[in-house]
Amino acid sequence: MSSLLKNIIRFILFIFLQVYVLNEVPPLHQFIVPYLYFLFILWLPYSLGRFGLLLLSFAFGMTLDYFTGTPGLHAAPCTLIAYLRPFLLNLLIPQEGKEQSYAEPSPKSMGWAPYALYAGLLTFIHHFYLVLIEWLQFGDFLYFLGKVTGTTLISLLLILLSELIFFRKAKYRTNAA
């Protein structure tokens, strides 16, 4: 399957999963909201240019916002992590050209420890910014701290689960592709 087709399918699946499954889960606690949709941005291929990455993430966030009725709320953190992603990848990937040989970030292509750091940092930044925007509209500092921590932990758990369930074969990029 081509990379483009795969990412289009992922786009739709992640939106539907977030809107119709995760947002429908009855809240266990006021701090816990299961967010997983931004994993789409984490899984985008290395070959995508930085500007394309920004625009795609913005469009992705806005699509989700249409469903939840809050235009801009999810799009803002999405563009933020899309902007930071290339810097973080440059820091974490050894410079011997691994990014030339693998198609997209995954535990297999980066190693579990760097990948965990990559996913953890971007998840934290995403939730921090998302909850910050919510909090500016109506504030309570304890609520802010608790919600950032709670949602980050739940999201990391969900990411770990999806990495284990949908084990992506780390494809080598060939000249033909």
Binding site: Y20, N23, E24, V25, P26, P27, Q30, V33, R50, F51, L54, L55, F58, G61, Y66, F67, T68, G69, T70, P71, G72, L73, A75, A76, T79, L80, Y83, I133, E134, Q137, F138, Y143
Partner: protein, 283 residues
């Protein structure tokens, strides 16, 4: 001039990032303030269609609960029928005459339009419902929405076949309500924490409130008819700094399983709001 172009070219990614961020924040802030985004009509139609597909599946899981609610409402309404309140010797014809012809043609103020809920959220800080009934079917912005058990929210955006309702579980929502016992009026808001509880503010300490009291909509709102169920008092907190109670209210509507609602059209809504918003001269 050349330097400006060089600068833009060098920081192109960062600048586009900033532009996108500004777009996000601006749309978000204007949307929350006025509840009408410029794209809401078009987007409503698309997401509404997908929502109704999904809701077609999920309604089956709640059929039993929906049935119970509708049966209860039917029983309640049947108890309110005019025939139930007749003295044995008064004539039926008189009662039917006066209640039907006059009230429907001349004095009707509120009309109830049934609608199917195709989208709903409870876990976000700003929750909305999507209904499958739009401007073509007579829905307008500002109409109130009530469920079988209690009030639900207010219509904030309308497209051809769908409408978007700001539910009570939204931090911008504010409903004028009163205690059933002594008609003291306050306003019901949501603090954003627990989807089963609302906050009733503005009740003076002179009012006697106890746990379990009923809270109804007041006479002062333009879109809600009075005496609709809002909820029951769950806890009473008195803030020593002010002269008012802060009352925790359990919602009558169960927002987790809401399936069918009624949109309430007020014939004289525009007339009333226009008069209320009029600037009085020569004061």
């Amino acid at each position: 001039m050349k330097n400006i172009f060089l600068f833009i070219r060098r920081y192109f990614i960062f600048l586009s990032f900033l532009v996108l961020q500004v777009i996000c924040i601006v749309t978000l802030s204007t949307y929350s303030r006025t509840h009408e985004a410029f794209f809401s009509t078009a987007a409503n139609e698309v997401t509404g269609r997908i929502n109704s597909q999904y809701s077609g599946v999920s309604t089956y899981f709640n059929l039993k609960e929906t049935n119970r609610q509708l049966a209860e409402e039917n029983a309640r309404l049947r108890n309110m029928l005019a025939q139930n309140f007749q003295a044995p010797d008064s004539s039926i014809a008189q009662v039917t005459d006066s209640s039907y012809r006059d009230s429907t043609t001349r004095y009707r103020k509120f009309t109830y339009l049934p609608a199917h809920v195709v989208g709903n959220s409870v876990s976000l800080p700003a929750n909305y419902l999507t209904l499958e009934r739009g401007s073509k079917q007579g829905v307008e912005k500002g109409m109130a929405v009530t469920g079988p058990q209690g009030i639900v929210g207010v219509v904030v955006a309308v497209s051809d076949n769908y409408s978007k309702v700001m539910s009570l579980l939204n931090r911008n929502s504010k409903v004028s309500s009163m205690l059933k016992k002594d008609n003291v009026t306050g306003s019901v808001e949501w603090d954003g924490n627990d989807p089963s509880y609302l906050t009733l503010k503005g009740i003076p300490r002179s009012a006697k409130v106890v746990k379990g009291d009923t809270v109804l909509t007041s006479n002062y709102s333009a879109n809600y008819p009075s005496h609709l169920m809002v909820g029951t008092v769950a806890a009473v907190n008195s803030d020593p700094a002010t002269n008012f109670y802060t009352i925790k209210v359990k919602t009558a509507t169960n927002f987790f399983s809401i399936q069918y609602v009624n949109i309430i059209a007020n014939k004289r809504y525009n007339e009333q709001t226009e008069l209320e918003n009029q600037q009085l001269k020569n004061q």
